[in-house]
Amino acid sequence: MERIKRLFLPKPITLSNGKVIQPKMSPAIYVVPILTFMTLYSIQLTGFKLATLFRRGYQFFVILDGMIPPNFAYFEKVWEPLLATIMMSILGTVIGSLLALPAAYISSENMMKSKFVKFITKAFLSVVRTFPILVLALLFRIIFGIGAFAGTMAIGIFTFTIMTKMFYELIDTADMGPFEALMSSGASRIQAFWVAIMPQLWGQYFSLVLYNFEMNIRNAAILGYVGAGGIGLILNERLGWRVYPDVGLILLVMMITVYMIESLSRTIRKKLL
């Protein structure tokens, strides 16, 4: 009991001159009750029941069991949506990364002088960044019609907001020496930026592009759910019909694709940095 009490309230220390010091109370004394309360409240709100999990949990393994062995004959129908997913990610990443260049320029502390422009772009980007990619896809599906184009645009905008943020942080920390040298020799700000700042950052920029591409491959896989093209469409359909061997194959193919693209992108990124 003493030990548990000491976890929260450390023992007073007596110094050699007789002064007694009480070390600070551990923050656990208020963090633990708050966390407990929030957990209990969430359990009540979400209807979390361990009993249901124990009663129905085996169903999850029934599904997993149904997926093994995967139905390899189904690959015929998988490769085309898979290719579409990859192409959507490529195109979306390229669109987003290109748009991010000028946007990062006007949001960076050291390049952009106008506080007003910086504030507006940063606020706009933070607001757009709060939209999950599926919400964007849902909106674009109505604007652009069902299909891969809506998905591509969703990926493009999503990448744009993330890339801009990551890239202006890089511009902020770039070495300003060459930039000032060019400015003093009469170059315009944009010229100086392009010749003095960008060469420092191209490697990191392409590394970010590849990193976003990795993320987008995973994201693109789910866009099919709202009708925005790609492999998610058939995944949802096959799960709905409970054709688990086909689902198994789709997941296997997805896993291999993601793994291959990640390894490839990591190898290139190592060379870039």
């Binding site: 976890l7 966390l35 929030m38 957990t39 409240y41 969430s42 359990i43 709100l45 979400t46 209807g47 979390f48 029941k49 249901t52 999990l53 129905r56 949990g57 169903q59 999850f60 599904i63 290719l83 579409a84 990859i86 192409m87 959507m88 490529i90 195109l91 390229v94 933070s126 607001v127 709060t130 939209f131 999950p132 599926l134 919400v135 849902l138 909106l139 109505i142 604007i143 652009f144 019609g145 299909g147 891969a148 184009f149 998905g151 591509t152 995973r218 896989a221 789910i222 759910y225 709202v226 093209g229 995944l235 949802n236 799960l239 409970r242 997941l251 997805m254 896993m255 993601v258 793994y259």
Partner: protein, 270 residues
Amino acid sequence: MSLNSRVNEQLSKQPKVLLKNTAIIVLNLLILFLSTQYVEIKGLTETGVDIAGAIIQSIFTPNLEFLLNFSTKGGVPYLLLETAAIAFLGTIVGAIISIPMAFLSSRNVVPSWVAHIGVAIITVIRTFPAVVYGLMFIRVTGPGAFTGVLTLAIASVGMISKLYIEIIEELDPGIIEALDAAGCDRIQKIQYGIIPQLLSNFLSTAIYRFEINVKYATILGMVGAGGIGAPLIFAINAYRWKDAGALLVGLIIFVLIVEAISTQLRKKLA
């Protein structure tokens, strides 16, 4: 030697990368061209411009009655509270499962072959997007917030355990040896040597994942796993823009608040 010829001499020393760069650019353009073949560029649908206008307008003129309805279960505040609860509980469950997972996959705790198996399992879990787990769990526990919690828990395990492993593998053994030398017993070693090293990083990781889970919880609602996603997808599909606007505004404010709190807490922990 004049300045110009010195500049020219220096320029001629530049490595010759033209051929290599051209090859890379051509290859990339080829991939890009191929991808445009796959993604049929359709432009806007006939009503697309009007709809885009309606969506943007709706964010500025949301259905205020719906947005500020604090009393009943149908209002935006309640839906956001439910979303937060799903994300919170998912993070807690995920973080708790991650602790033993991470210890059993750390090379400085278990033999390296055990660690390899653990890391492989975690990698497989991380491969699939949360929505895929959501679609699977719906067949297990039915639609509702409970499914959302389970989905986020599993999806969190993938990322949290990976980060926890990194934290555990960076444990400083010197501190524990020092405590050993000072004659501490096992519990004291854990209390003064291990917990202080791990706790703040563990909490910081969990808070960061909570921020991500809040966004995922919105998405999961769309597949029927509780929270604000389902009303949002219904409102958009039914072209009820005022309601959709209220939900989106609620979502924007909510996510911005969560991001701000999470950043502040993590700054304190660091």
